[in-house]
């Protein structure tokens, strides 16, 4: 789980009861802090299973949850990079739509059809790098830049399909949208969408925790001026994180296109950025940057998917689903504040 670099308060070896209780409390606190939102996820799963009389924990339903979580997990992974630097990317939903449109349009060109997947990814990457360049080189606020591209890229997405829905029932690589990877023939399989999401999480973890770039991302988010003075190329880090966010949004677009065999520039990916941001916050990543982990984001994305799925399972109306989801988000973050109170931060 999140390797927070274990909060190192060594229990004093003393025999008095008070000190032992204090040590226990500290251990408890460390445990809670390391687990993050995982207990909330488990409680939600168990609760929905009880309320739905056992229909939640079935192989089929879990497959649906994982599949529903996949695209948001990918977007939220990119968003984690951005928020770790203290920024925000509001444009991921629009970039997702534009990438899907670009991919689907190319997939209908006879000779080049197979290239639709890289085309979608590159479209996303391109928009992301433009965001990053505006933020890093022109020093514009991330909120403003990505709010602008949220609107502008949405317009481009509509333009790409001449404001219609583009279909391609024979799109290459359709299996990634609807196929499953068989783990044990006839017994266990996992949707390709979920496999991709998991790979994205693993790659993100590798970059954030095992590379120089990862430390630089945390450093920029933790203290941008200090990072600059420490010789870190802050501009390059910023372009990278917005580029990655765009690339993952492009991947999300490809996943959606392969799943639906279609894309609509107006509707696809509407307000996806909000779900992605929610997943990151639920995962305990600090909004001011510098603190957080990709595993937390995975848990956050799963919480959102479980909530949607569970509320439908137990027959809560669409309208109340919104209310409950909103309250759970606020409650979860309140819980997070409480659990962070004990950690050392000066």
């Amino acid at each position: 789980m999140p390797d927070n670099g274990a909060v190192g308060v060594k229990p004093a070896s003393t025999t008095t009861n008070g000190a032992a209780a204090e040590t226990r409390r500290q251990r408890m606190r460390m445990l809670i802090s390391a687990l993050g939102m995982l207990p909330v996820l488990l409680i939600l799963c168990i609760g929905f299973n009880v309320l739905s009389e056992g229909r939640f924990f079935t192989g089929q339903n879990l497959g649906i949850v994982l599949q529903q979580a996949a695209v948001n997990t990918v977007l939220a992974a990119g968003m984690t990079f951005v928020i770790l630097t203290g920024g925000i990317d509001l444009s991921v939903g629009s970039i997702l739509a534009a990438s899907a449109m670009a991919g689907l349009t190319l997939s209908k060109v006879p000779e080049l059809g197979m290239l639709w997947l890289p085309a979608a990814l590159l479209t996303g990457l391109g928009f992301g790098i433009v965001n990053g360049a505006l933020i890093a080189l022109l020093r514009l606020p991330p909120f403003i830049v990505t709010l602008g591209s949220l609107t502008a890229v949405r317009g481009l997405a509509r333009l790409l399909g001449a404001d219609t829905t583009v279909f391609n029932p024979s799109i290459p690589y359709a299996f990634i949208g609807n196929g499953s990877l068989t783990l044990v023939p006839g017994v266990a399989s996992i949707p390709w969408l979920s496999v991709i999401a998991l790979l994205v999480i693993l790659v993100s973890w590798l970059v954030l925790r095992r590379t120089v770039l990862g430390v630089h991302i945390y450093a920029v988010g933790g203290n941008e001026s200090a990072a600059r003075l420490a010789g870190i190329k802050v501009w390059a880090v910023l372009i990278f994180v917005y580029g990655i966010s765009g690339l993952f949004a492009g991947l999300g677009g490809a996943m959606q296109a392969a799943r639906l065999y279609a894309a609509n520039g107006l509707q696809l990916g509407q307000s996806y950025e909000l779900d992605a941001i929610t997943a990151v916050i639920l995962g305990g990543t600090s909004f001011v940057g510098g603190i957080g982990s990709i595993w937390g984001t995975l848990v956050g994305a799963l919480i959102i998917a479980v909530l949607s799925n569970g509320l439908i399972l137990i027959g809560v109306s669409d309208i109340w689903q919104y209310v409950i989801k909103g309250l759970v988000i606020i409650g979860a973050v309140a819980l997070d504040r409480y659990r962070l109170q004990g950690s050392a931060r000066t």
């Binding site: 190192g8 590379t211 933790g222 001026s225 600059r228 050392a344």
Partner: protein
């Protein structure tokens, strides 16, 4: 002398079993400037926060104002008791006007509507009395630091405070602004206000203080009257031991005066640095002294490429180098320790391990990208042992460490690149006495090993104690250099003379 305005008797404060203040007796008279000195952590700010009502003292002590016992409670308690504090970081709202700031929390309203006109008229006389050159309706954002200080003072006067506490008020002021502030403080003294003046700077204490009280480790260790105020006495009281053993300078400047390592020639930034040249040799510790605002930090920033220069060039070991960013400076072997550890140096949420390794991650990385965690761990362990950094382990966030240990973590980051030139900007600011002497001995050892070291410091005894020679800056220029004689130490008077432009201190 007349009756005291403030008497504190046996005031203590305990935090979680740690005594921050031990039975302090402090008496302040109206019409006096009472300088309060002490190392960081000596208890000055605790004392201040008790007077402002932010902390409640331990039971047992007593505070009297004009002879009456008072209980100061809550953030407004101090002001209600007639005490105003002007903090180092001013507490003005820059988006509001001068009048609005002065009335903040006590706005005049008529039937629920803010009465800006009445507020502007209300502050007029006070601003006039203080000789302010701005209007009540001016936005605070448009004022200079000196003018903002004036607004703070106006706010205190407007609240009819009788005791004014100023915490290092000249930190962000230019020399001219400081002079104006001193004149104003003397005027307020003449009007009968009691002023508690907290400062680390001897020259200010000489110039202003009627009495000096020194705190150490939460205890009041001495009060000196005007004729007794002398630097060595104060330093001895503050440090609690003989100064000569406190500073460590074993390296031999003569033997060490090797080849020139860093030469900065005619550096200027078009603003606060105006054509400065200096040279630092291998194995030499050079002090860079001067008043706040003289441009010392700015010059350091120019050297390491943190700000862009309008003229000047650098030579490293005799060869010209072009340095445009701090990253290039590190690559060339020039390391800079910032004066603002928390804002510009450390990553408080990151582990000590990451903080220490940050500058060499790229060099150590496997395949150019992947962290070499064993190497990083080893380096951090070595730094912890070598600089005796005290923390539970290398994995704890740097923000949880004490000031001295934080400084050593930051220093370890710089030492990791094995710098040829080390520029230390206020290396012992906010560091306790024990860690201070450890840092001095680290500097001494580095000089012995042949590093060229430039120390920027506003702490004159420190500069005199550890440096081989001192370059003095004044108003963006190099004002001159003070060298150690064959048998004589660096003279504080010479340095202050150059820093202030030969004005005499009324010691």
């Amino acid at each position: 002398m007349n009756d005291p305005i403030l008497e504190m008797r046996g005031v203590s404060k305990t935090f979680f079993g740690i005594k921050a203040l031990r039975a302090v007796d402090l008496t302040v008279y109206p019409g006096e400037i009472h300088a309060l000195m002490g190392e960081n952590g000596a208890g000055k700010s605790t004392l201040m926060k008790i007077l402002s009502g932010a902390y409640r003292p331990d039971p047992g002590g007593e505070i009297r104002i004009e002879g009456r016992p008072v209980r100061i409670e809550g953030p407004l308690g101090g002001r209600a008791a007639g005490i105003s504090i002007i903090y180092q970081e001013l507490s003005l709202a820059p988006n509001l006007s001068v009048a609005e700031n002065i009335y903040l929390g006590r706005e005049i309203s008529r039937s629920g509507l803010l009465s800006r006109g009445a507020m502007r008229e209300g502050v007029g006389p006070i601003l006039k009395r203080l000789g302010a050159d701005f209007l009540p309706s001016t936005l605070v954002a448009h004022l200079s630091m000196g003018q903002r200080q004036l607004v703070e003072i106006a706010r205190a006067l407007h609240a009819r405070s009788k005791i004014l506490i100023m915490d290092e008020p000249t930190t962000s002021l230019s020399a001219a602004e400081s002079e104006r502030l001193f004149a104003l403080i003397r005027q307020l003294r003449a009007e009968g206000l009691a002023i508690i003046y907290i400062s680390h700077r001897m020259d200010e204490v000489y110039a202003l203080g009627d009495r000096v009280t020194v705190l150490r480790d939460g205890r009041l260790v001495g009060s000196l009257d005007k004729p007794e105020i002398r630097a060595d006495t104060i330093v001895r009281l503050m440090v609690g031991r003989d100064v000569s053993s406190f500073y460590k300078k074993d390296h031999d400047p003569k033997a060490g005066r090797g080849h020139p390592v860093l030469a900065a020639i005619d550096m200027a930034d078009g603003g606060r640095v105006k054509g400065c040249s200096l040279t630092v040799h291998a194995g030499e510790v050079v002090g860079l002294a001067g008043l706040i605002g003289a441009g010392r930090t700015e010059l350091a920033h120019l050297i390491i490429g943190a700000s862009s220069k309008t003229s000047g060039r650098l030579e490293l070991e005799g060869r010209p180098v072009e340095i445009r960013t701090p990253g290039e400076a590190l690559e060339a072997g020039i390391a800079y320790l910032t004066e603002d550890r928390k804002a510009l140096g450390l990553f408080l949420d990151m582990s000590c391990l990451d903080n220490i390794n940050l500058a060499v991650l790229g060099r150590d990385a496997k395949l150019g990208w992947f962290l070499d965690r064993d190497k990083a761990r080893e380096r951090a362990d070595r730094a912890f042992a070598g600089l005796s950094i005290r923390a539970a382990n290398v994995g704890v966030p740097a923000g949880g460490l004490s000031g001295g240990n934080q400084q050593k973590v930051l220093l370890s980051r710089l030492l990791a690149i094995a710098p040829k030139v080390l520029i230390l900007d206020e290396p012992t600011r906010g560091v306790d006495v024990g860690a201070k002497s450890e840092i001095y001995s680290i500097i001494d050892n580095l000089a012995k090993a042949g590093t060229a070291i430039l120390v920027i410091s506003s702490d004159l005894p420190e500069i005199i104690g550890i440096c081989d020679r001192v370059i003095v800056m004044r108003a963006g220029h190099i004002a001159g250099e003070v060298s150690r004689g064959p048998n004589s130490p660096l003279a504080q008077e010479d340095i202050m003379g150059l820093a202030t432009g030969m004005e005499h201190l009324d010691a």
